[in-house]
Amino acid sequence: MFVKTDDLIDLLAQDSAPTWRLRSLLAMALAVGIIIAAILFFVGIGFRPDISEAVRSNRFLFKFVVTVSLAVTAIWVTLSVGRPGGSLAHRGLALAIAPALLACATVVELLVLPENQWMPRLVGHNARFCLTLIPLLSIGPLACLLAALREGAPSSPGLAGAVAGLAASGIAATFYAANCTDDSALFVITWYPIAILIVTTAGYLIGSKLLRW
């Protein structure tokens, strides 16, 4: 590039305006992404009709324990995999929290529900909405997170994109769960992961192209 590396250093040292930290950029992307998803939610689908009764149901509330923990852990891991040298080795284990919580709830559900209720609860009434609305609601958050990660430098671009996809689908699933009337853990563990996988795969594919540096 330059005859002397010192010439380059002179140049770089002159461009030393204070910069935004990656953490702040991701925080901003997160906020904007949530706002976009919220607008889409309130304009497009809104709360379920019986929301005032639903909030007294443990099954309904537990959906948010799972989706919020997915969003929080995935954002935390994004912060690590978005940097040079970052890998799942540092924080990846945190991603097991949300699936573990959901698995426990599923076991409890199987214990308390009579067997003839298992299939009807699993199939539910909203599978098709679940599979379309979660990916739709996650588009805004995913776009924002990927835009912020472009300012990062992930050692593995695909991985960073995938983890951003997990975070985005955690946000989307949180909104969707407030609309969906299927509250059984059997429904959640069957359909939510499929929707989340779609978003995560999209994140992986876009990330491996867009997040190179």
């Binding site: 590039m1 330059f2 005859v3 002397k4 590396t5 010192d6 010439d7 380059l8 250093i9 002179d10 140049l11 770089l12 040292a13 002159q14 461009d15 030393s16 305006a17 204070p18 910069t19 935004w20 930290r21 990656l22 953490r23 950029l25 978005g82 940097r83 040079p84 040298g85 300012e151 990062g152 430098a153 050692s155 190179r212 540096w213």
Partner: protein
């Protein structure tokens, strides 16, 4: 591996640099360059690549450190961060030159030790990359780097404001980083 006192210096300088301290930033780059050079040279020697390739790596690593300095987590040591960038760019540059490479990170960490002679790149290399910049950006880059002018002197000479020079310089550096990347993708 670098000594911890040296890494401490780097961390202190980088923290200052992130708040806009150009002097500290310069010290950091001057101090990091020989370490990156040592790694790049030993790797190129082993692959039988010419010395100019090593200097190319050094410059690309410094440019990347610059463009991606926001990604250093200030609560973590800075040495591994520099090593990760060095490794990544080493692979890019050597791959671009059509070499098959794998660079274990441990090796980069181990051989981040000083070796202090610079080598020069051919004039042809400079022109190919800088040639892609807009005329005004190229003028600013040459004024500051090759002629050693300050931002103010450059502004006076080109009859622009210092702010405009800073913005143009920043864009030029981002463009150079992108040019490197597109070179990688072509093959």
């Amino acid at each position: 591996m670098t000594t911890s006192s040296q890494e401490n210096d780097w961390a202190v300088w980088m923290r200052a640099a992130m708040t806009g301290d150009a002097g500290a930033y310069r010290q950091l780059l001057v101090s990091v360059a020989p370490h990156v050079r040592a790694v790049a040279r030993s790797r190129c020697r082993r692959l039988g690549a010419p010395e100019s390739e090593a200097e190319d790596v050094v410059q690309e690593v410094l440019l990347t450190i610059h463009l991606k300095r926001r990604t250093w987590d200030q609560s973590r040591p800075i040495g591994p961060w520099v090593a990760a960038i060095t490794r990544n760019k080493l692979i890019d540059v050597l791959r671009r030159r059509g070499r098959r490479v794998s660079v274990p990170i441990e090796e980069v960490m181990d051989s981040l030790q000083a070796e202090d002679q610079t080598s020069e790149l051919s004039a042809h290399e400079i022109d190919t990359l800088l040639g892609h910049l807009k005329a005004q950006q190229r003028e600013i880059v040459k004024s500051i780097s090759l002629n050693g002018n300050s931002i103010r002197e450059t502004a006076d000479r080109l009859q622009m404001t210092e702010g405009a020079i800073r913005v143009a310089l920043h864009r030029a550096l981002k463009t150079l980083g992108a040019l490197y990347r597109s070179n990688v993708r072509e093959d």
